[in-house]
């Protein structure tokens, strides 16, 4: 029977050709910054965190994208990324013009050549952005700026005050092997969550000597992984989709766990017993940057978007809806809740420094403490082993 053998041979040849083509495309150049914003291209495809680019489809009253579309003629197509890893993978497809990257994706994107440097002088609102967000290790490299800060915030501990008593003030409640809330605890479903365990151990087990939860020696990493394997026994569900987590807290199948303020804001409307707290050990968090894809098809629209989203009006809307500190403090006066910026400490540099913003762990320790830190590829493998 010659036909199947020929077919198989053809298939092999074609596939080897395809994979050879695929492997040569890695390590792209990184693109160039614009020198001037030209006319809008009429379309824009961006990857964003849920709640960052609302166009009225979640809640008709929550919409700042439509005004942008009307003002610039750039029709926005938003793809929600659930985790930084998902956003990194989506950017690898080359189909998007930009992304709201947290620190644990932004550095990877810069290193992989997937994003272009940004000419910040073209963004008129850039001058107003809080100085402690500019030229940070997660949004600049080699003296070049790679993005426009969007906003920042912490990962809070949310709990159902009817069920969880007394009111918790420590992350220890979610890491308690013998927790009375077994089966009703949640954790973020991404390898970066190992940093939350490390942050807790920084206070709970000072003998480990953890300083930066993203710069861990093998011993410190193993301790964090061991803590998480114990936590696995009390976990009801891991969450990566914010809407599913919101539903679980509302319904009561989850009563305790890490969350984003936006999930609390949405869930508390249906379940007033929910509360958030920033535990005493501190928290991990994220400082997000709008970045432009190296091969963006609509760079002018992307620059127009970055300028729009950092304007005081748009910043006020998104910071209030999402529950984060706006990058542009001029938004503070425009937010419906006049205490918003105080609550989120938008201009408090010291508080911002206290949050362990998401960053991608590298072999060469991020905090400069050495060259033997556990790299992110190990974090990814460990996460599968933790979940069993």
């Amino acid at each position: 029977m010659r036909a199947p053998r020929i077919a198989l041979a053809c298939g092999t040849a074609i596939a080897l050709l395809l994979s050879a083509c695929g492997s040569s495309s890695s390590g792209s150049s990184g693109g160039k910054a614009l020198t001037a914003i030209g006319a809008g291209e009429g379309a824009l495809k961006i990857i964003a965190w849920a709640g960052y680019a609302e166009n009225g489809s979640t809640d008709p009253k929550t919409d700042w994208v439509t005004k942008f579309q009307n003002d610039t003629g750039c029709k926005v197509d938003v793809k929600i990324g659930n985790t930084s890893d998902e956003m990194f993978q989506l950017m690898q497809t080359g189909e998007y013009d930009g992304v709201s990257a947290s620190g644990d994706a932004s550095v990877r994107l810069i290193d992989a050549g997937l994003v272009a440097p940004v000419n910040t002088s073209l963004i008129k609102n850039y001058a107003d952005i809080s100085s402690f967000l500019k030229d940070q290790p997660y949004n600049s490299s080699d003296g070049k700026n790679y993005g426009i800060p969007h906003g920042w915030g912490a990962n809070y501990l949310m709990y159902n005050s009817d069920v969880v008593k007394p009111a918790p003030d420590s992350w220890g409640v979610v890491f308690d092997k013998a927790s009375p809330y077994k089966g009703k605890v949640t954790a973020y479903d991404a390898p970066i969550y190992i940093a939350d365990a490390a942050l807790y151990l920084k206070s709970a087990k000072p003998e480990l000597g953890i300083k930066d939860p993203y710069s861990l020696t093998q011993a410190q990493f193993d301790a964090a992984v061991s803590l998480l394997k114990d936590q696995r026994g009390v976990i009801g569900e891991y969450w990566s989709n914010y809407a599913v987590s919101q539903g679980a807290f509302t319904q009561g199948s989850i009563v305790l766990g890490t969350t984003w303020q936006v999930i609390y804001n949405l869930a508390v409307a249906d379940n007033p017993k929910l509360t958030t707290v920033l535990p005493k050990e501190g928290a991990t968090g994220w400082s997000d940057t709008w970045m432009v894809a190296a091969k963006a098809k609509h760079p002018n629209c992307m620059y127009k978007w970055m300028d729009y989203i950092t304007s005081p009006e748009a910043q006020a809307q998104v910071a209030y809806y999402f529950g984060e500190a706006p990058a542009n403090p001029k938004a503070c006066g425009l937010i419906t809740d006049s205490t918003h910026c105080d609550v989120f400490k938008a201009t408090d540099n010291a508080f911002a420094k206290g949050i362990s913003f998401w960053a991608t762990p590298r072999k060469k320790c991020l905090d400069g403490s050495g060259d033997n830190c556990v790299p992110f590829s190990e974090w990814i493998k460990a996460w599968t082993a933790i979940k069993g």
């Binding site: 077919a7 198989l8 053809c10 298939g11 092999t12 074609i14 596939a15 080897l16 395809l18 994979s19 695929g22 492997s23 890695s26 390590g27 985790t83 890893d85 998902e86 990194f88 993978q89 990877r108 290193d111 992989a112 089966g183 479903d189 390898p191 696995r232 976990i235 009801g236 569900e237 891991y238 599913v244 319904q251 009561g252 199948s253 991608t360 590298r362 072999k363 790299p375 992110f376 590829s377 990814i380 493998k381 996460w383 599968t384 082993a385 979940k387 069993g388």
Partner: protein, 282 residues
């Protein structure tokens, strides 16, 4: 022009066949085999340490990782176990249902019943999975509100949901297979004194064996690859699909390596079925 072409083709029947088959064969070779081979080739690459890009290193480190770290073995066996359980449950449910529709129901009711079996397939997978999430939720789920207790999310819930989702895929081949069981055989069995269950067990099921195998290929392979239902109702459990989905975004070569496991399992399953001779009668 047309006459010239038809004269050329007339004496060469292989040209007819070739022209007809080029499309489907190209589809299978390029898209199906080609993608499987591309997947296999990808699994030999490695992610660089900092996880920024796929390193240009060819090697078997992914397979080494799969074989040495016990967690992947556990996940693979768990997935096979769930798939097997789902298949057995679906067979037990599908045979009586299909038997009723094919042999006992009146001809008019038959059409309505088989439509009722097929209609859920028109519904979106996600809608059905979310519906089960609402049913099984604890507290506040439909089951709990009605009966006071719900199993909650976990492997048990996953088996229930997968058995529900793939049941039409089991019922339809068995229903078609029952057409080959002549009514005269059932009457003969009845005349000899066998009750309903004895007839089912010793006359119908052996004749249905190829159809059951055909259905089982569906339920087994669909369960092996599932990653959505397990995320919605499986609680914190992981199946092969979940690991592939999680690593797809961050470590593609490893996801490719792990994805060859279900392919291997299905190949072994089909080879095993071939030995029983069930494929001959399809």
């Amino acid at each position: 022009m047309r006459r010239r072409v038809s004269r050329f083709v007339d004496g060469r029947p292989w040209l007819h066949l070739g022209a007809l088959l080029t499309g489907p064969v190209a589809w299978i070779v390029v898209l199906y085999f080609g993608s499987l081979i591309a997947l296999f080739v990808t699994s030999f690459y490695r992610l660089n340490d900092d996880a920024t890009a796929i390193a240009e290193q060819f090697g078997t480190s992914n397979y080494h990782e799969l074989l040495t770290a016990t967690v992947y073995r556990d996940i693979a066996f768990r997935t096979i176990g769930v798939a097997a359980l789902v298949t057995i449950i679906d067979v037990c449910l599908a045979v009586p249902i299909a038997f009723f529709i094919a042999k006992i129901a009146k001809p008019r009711a038959r059409t309505a019943l088989i439509t009722a079996v097929l209609v859920p397939l028109w519904g979106s997978y996600l809608v059905k999975a979310f519906a089960w999430r609402a049913i099984l939720g604890s507290p506040g789920g439909v089951l709990e509100k009605t009966f006071g207790h719900s199993p909650g999310y976990g492997l048990g819930a996953l088996v229930v949901v997968l058995a529900y989702l793939w049941l039409p895929f089991m019922i339809v081949p068995i229903y078609a297979g029952l057409d080959r069981v002549p009514d005269s055989l059932l009457e003969a069995s009845n005349d000899l004194g066998a009750g309903f269950w004895l007839t089912l067990r010793s006359v119908v099921v052996p004749m249905l064996f190829p159809a059951i195998i055909a259905g089982s290929v569906f339920t087994f392979s669909l369960s092996m690859g599932d990653y959505i239902a397990v995320a919605l109702v499986g609680g914190p459990s992981q199946m092969i699909g979940s690991v592939v989905y999680a690593n797809f975004a961050s470590n593609l070569p490893f996801a490719a390596a792990f994805a060859t496991v279900p392919v291997l399992v299905m190949v072994l399953y089909l080879l095993g079925i071939r030995r029983t001779g069930a494929l001959e009668n399809l």
